[in-house]
Symmetry: C2
Subunit: 501 residues, 2 copies
């Protein structure tokens, strides 16, 4: 006879399997599927996600949840079982509040909007997209209303990606950060140009591939429990803690593109590979939030992968891999090139110092749209004004401006801030890690990453989604979310590179 | 408001999607999955197949089926809708007769037996496997009993793979065939040895891959709706009529292995790619039976791919691909080599003339086991006796004898005959095709396959599973299953090669 918790976990396991199957199908779709498969695959994914939703929000699940809760009430509130019940309960209550009619309408609206956006972006025609974008924000306000009362209409959306986080917190931290970051970027711009031309020579794909995989193997990404493939946009996907895959894409005329994508995705993937087996096949076998996930990818990509000690270790090997292109380029020159700061139009290509400014712009716009304080038709003008204010440049057209991101067309609102928060949190971790591993830089220079990965596993990875992001930050730093470590990191690093006072 | 037939098709579509998702997961498992993924994948596949079974055998499906039947009773009995209802009804009734207890017990028993078989085969230790094989045949007899009354206990099993086919028919046709085929193989053996040594030189994988794909592209396999990858055992899998994939495996020291596997699987795949779109996402989007499926793979592999006209067309190109290996080998010598007949121990490596003898042996043994007329412990001795009788050789050990096939360990009984029937049926088609396309050989010599593929599409492929195998044979040949065209083909072809009278 199964215990209530066993019965609860069995039901969750079925839902997990359906979602994992969806992930396999989506991965295949982006990596390997022949063009003809598109229509059938859409039907398969719709069937799987509908079944998973139906099962997760079923009365049977509700009863199993209640029965399990009665058992876990007797346990330590921080036990895996108690946390599983509370987290699933939170998610169950949320999903039960959303009507089937809303889900159907949202699905239909975003499906249409996504197609329209693709064409509008190609034509740089915001006017064609605007009529599709208006109902999306209307639907998102309706969605927020399912969760009344709220402090701010943006909160329920943010909560889907950052459990427990509020718009006011994000606003406060972004306000604090923005003036400092704008000033820093301006100071760097005043310091004069950086030569990055050697990164644009011809770098054959096969050698790029081999070099990147060798690096993440040394980081600790486990190829016995994952693999890397190619796709149009790099991503990480998990089919369970023992099959976590990454993708990258190669530009033979720009060396950093594939390499840093590989390091970034490996950071995500090592997080998922590090969840403790007790949580397997439950909703806790996941990252704590998107920001915490991004803290892992950014840590390996930037704090490790774009650091001086890292290149002390790897630059010689990179020169051996590409002797004609880099044989005559010094480590110092190369290091400056891969850390070149330059305001740019496109978020996904932005450097460490300017990236967050792109995010703040989006957060402010989507918050105003949710408040119904900004007419959709005004978006392009406001976008361009803010680009000028934050980054000192103005997009020549809407394709490189307000139409550049896929998110809004897919109905993803509340997602953007997590990218910036991930950068901040990564630097909060990094200060703690530097205390715990005093010779960290020396270890990186020696290609020794096991203590670093061990710290991340112990403090973050193993817990999966067991703790809320704010709890995790509190457990590790003793305080709350803070922009200070990030600002301090940027000032030290780019102050050094650009000789700022 | 959906019509009863639309509602019925919607339910079938969900089941189809679940099964297609399982196929994607199984494909990934055999082609790409990292080792760590095995446990999670097993859980995902179990969940998907359990859900598909539950949905297909549900009362809801039964009611939708009945409502649809009332509609289709008004239609032509050969309309797609009427055939869909009758075929699903047949399958529904079968599956509803099997108890959940039997399914669970069978799943547990075969899972254990499969693991045991792998080790027993590696150790060549039939004694270790026998205790697992006995309950499998017991369970298969219990399975047959769900379908009482039957003419023969083997019939319900055969019906799973060859709808409507009976053991007595197979027995009769095999009895007719065996003496002739044994005599032919003996006559070939008496004619003296054939040199096949040039096929065992070093043939690099990349060139093999390119050559094989070029050939099946010319056949008409659509790479926009499929792809080829590598796996340990070649197979074809369909995720819908617009995504039908094949796999092959390369032996660099044996040229025919990958090439003929590619042609074989492409034959299966073109069948699935050719099903008419009206049948998509229904159980009729499939082959009519395993034998009809095998008739397509064997037709392209053997009747086309090992024929003289085919190599008149392609041998020059193969020589250009492998000049060092084949530059000095004449077309005649090469043609003899790839058609070398030699009794061998392993079924999957058997040539056209001996292959069916391997199958007959298995059919006779599993029929006797089902009748409970042959003790499992006697299997190795009986196997070896029959090998000597049919092929004139005796396995040196059980790994190369009774333990060689995976089928019984997986509980697959009634499957083997379909391989041999496929060879017979292919030759029945071939006689009709030669009448319909009088200059077929000339077309093959000219690399023109569109009329051939068109005939197969029109007469076989488009119908998918709409007609039973016997109906299809009747529609096309005007008669029943026959061994005569196959025997005639073997005698003509090998009589010519070996100079038999």
């Amino acid at each position: 006879m199964a215990t209530p918790i066993e019965r609860f976990r069995r039901l969750l396991g079925e839902v997990y399997d359906l979602n994992a199957a969806s992930s396999v199908l989506a991965w295949d779709q982006q990596v390997l599927m022949p063009p003809g498969g598109a229509e059938g695959r859409a039907a398969q994914l719709a069937t799987l996600s509908s079944l998973a939703h139906t099962k997760f929000t079923s009365d049977e699940m509700g009863e199993a949840l209640e029965a399990a809760r009665q058992e876990t009430d007797k346990l330590d509130a921080d036990s895996d079982e108690a946390r599983l019940v509370s987290e699933v309960g939170r998610e169950y209550d949320k999903q039960r509040k959303v009507t089937a009619e809303w889900v159907a309408e949202f699905s239909r609206t975003t499906s249409l909007a996504h197609q329209t956006w693709q064409k509008a972006k190609a034509d740089s025609d915001f006017g064609a997209f605007a009529p599709q974008l208006k109902p999306i924000f209307k639907l998102r306000r309706d969605y927020a209303d399912f969760f009344k009362p709220y402090d701010h209409v943006y909160d329920p959306l943010l909560d889907d990606f950052e459990p427990g986080m509020k718009a006011a917190q994000v606003q406060e931290i972004f306000d604090d950060l923005r003036t400092h970051q704008v000033a820093l970027v301006q100071a760097i711009a005043d310091a004069g140009p950086t030569d990055g031309s050697m990164l644009h020579l011809h770098y054959p794909e096969a050698e790029q591939w081999a070099f990147g995989e060798a690096v993440i193997r040394e980081f600790g990404y486990d190829f016995e429990r994952g693999r890397q493939d190619k796709s149009a946009h790099p991503f990480t996907t998990s089919f369970g803690i023992n099959d976590v895959r990454i993708t990258t894409r190669f530009m033979e005329d720009f060396l950093p593109s594939a390499l840093f994508a590989t390091l970034h995705e490996a950071g995500h993937a090592m997080y998922e590979q590090g969840v403790k087996p007790d949580l397997a096949r439950t909703p806790l076998a996941d990252g704590a939030s998107l920001a915490i996930h991004e803290s892992q990818s950014r840590l390996w990509e930037n704090l490790v992968g774009r650091s001086w000690p890292f290149w002390v270790r790897f630059y010689g090997r990179l020169q051996e891999t590409f002797p004609a292109q880099l044989g005559g380029v010094s480590l110092e020159t190369f290091y400056r090139a891969i850390n070149k700061v330059e305001p740019s139009l496109i978020r996904v290509e932005a450097d460490e110092a300017t990236y967050n400014l792109h995010i703040m712009l989006r957060f402010e716009l989507e918050k105003a749209l949710m408040e119904d304080n900004l007419p959709v038709d005004d978006l392009p003008a406001v976008w361009n004004d803010k680009m000028q204010e934050y980054l000192g440049i103005t997009p020549p057209n809407d394709a490189q401006g307000v139409l550049q991101d896929v998110h809004w067309s897919a109905g993803l609102v509340g997602y953007f801030p997590t990218y910036a928060l991930g950068n901040l949190v990564a630097c909060q971790w990094w200060e703690r890690i530097a205390e715990a591993i005093p010779d960290l830089e020396k270890q990186v220079e020696a290609g020794k990453f096991d203590e670093l990965l061990g710290w991340l596993r112990t403090n973050i990875h193993q817990h999966g989604r067991k703790f809320k992001p704010t709890e995790l930050i509190e457990r590790i730093t003793g305080g709350g979310l803070s922009a200070e470590p990030y600002l301090s990191y940027l000032r030290t690093k780019f102050g050094g590179i650009y000789g700022l006072s």
